[in-house]
Amino acid sequence: MKLKALIGALILGVALPFAAAALEPSEVLSDPALEARAREVGKQLRCVVCQNQSIDDSNAELAGDMRLLVRERIQAGDSNSEVLAYMVDRYGDYVLLNPPFKASTVVLWVGPPAIGILGLLWVVSFYRRRAGDAGGDDVGQTSQAATLSDEERRRLNALLKDDNE
């Protein structure tokens, strides 16, 4: 029983912080449609003082003020992308949790897959080369075939022919 309680507490402890948004009741807009849009925008905006949380998840005061500003802009009639643009104009692409693909972010987006592909190519060529090397205990079928002498090959072909007929 003790173990069960412990596991339960652990799961709660790990899961709860993710369940709770930092939003305060007084911040919520009365119009649910506008509030839903505000949440959607808030999820895409980085809390600029906590580096890797959205403003919706962060308890930082600046994040709270940014949430309010998002709601102000939405109530003033801005579209979601206009609100995001408003923030980007002031804080740069950095404020977006999902940075756009452009010249200054090419390394960010292309870098990791490119390194992965290079690594994969290296592994493939490594094993190809190893399989291609003659001799050793772990040589495969292909390398053996490559080392057949002309005489052996003639015999092999004859045997295969016999089999097929």
Binding site: V48, M87, D89, G92
Partner: protein
């Protein structure tokens, strides 16, 4: 074979390059050369629109239009901000010497008295100073923390962003040369 040997050295070379770059950057920070972790996108852009109410005891606040026609230093501070206290005597000296008008943004005061009290205690270097309890001006300037200061030219265009306290070194090496040059334009 020579080519193959060379391939094995590549990871080491990459590591050395990354390490060397990091050390060079650290040295730049250590020697006091400005390294903006978050470079401002507002450099060479007009100051965004905003309007601030006066802090208590002042007749008026200020807004974007007040900056036009003169070179200004916009300073974001708060009575809660320890680094601002470090910077403050320097701003007071700039004011005393009449080098450049300083426009203050009193950021995120929970107590409306706190800012005015703080200025009464440490001196008031601001030509105009406004109250920004909900970060409207702070977000307009893309501020992430206090103190931050902006050099704004006569056309109301942001020319430089100083993150962190202004001190003698920053002033003499960066801010004053830029400000005096802009003043002559």
């Amino acid at each position: 074979m020579g080519m193959k040997r060379f391939l094995y050295v590549i990871p080491l070379l990459v590591l050395l390059a990354v390490g060397g770059f990091s050390i060079a950057q650290l040295n730049r920070v250590g020697s006091g050369q400005a390294v903006n972790v978050l470079p401002s996108v507002l450099i060479d852009k007009a100051v965004p629109e905003f309007d601030l109410a006066a802090i208590q005891g002042r007749e008026r606040g200020w807004g974007t239009k007040d900056l036009l026609g003169q070179v200004t230093l916009v300073n974001i501070f708060g009575s809660w901000c320890v680094a601002c206290q470090v910077e403050h005597p320097f701003l007071v000296r700039i004011k005393e010497q009449g080098l450049v008008p300083i426009y203050g943004i009193d950021w995120r005061e929970k107590d409306l008295q706190a800012g005015p009290r703080w200025l009464a205690k440490f001196g008031d270097p601001y030509t105009l100073v406004g109250d920004d309890p909900k970060s409207h001006a702070a977000i307009a300037f893309g501020v992430t923390g206090a103190p931050e200061s902006f050099v704004v030219d006569k056309q109301g265009v942001i020319r430089y962003k100083q993150i962190g306290p202004i001190n003698a070194q920053v002033w003499e090496q960066t801010l004053w040369p830029l400000i005096s040059e802009l003043q002559q334009q």
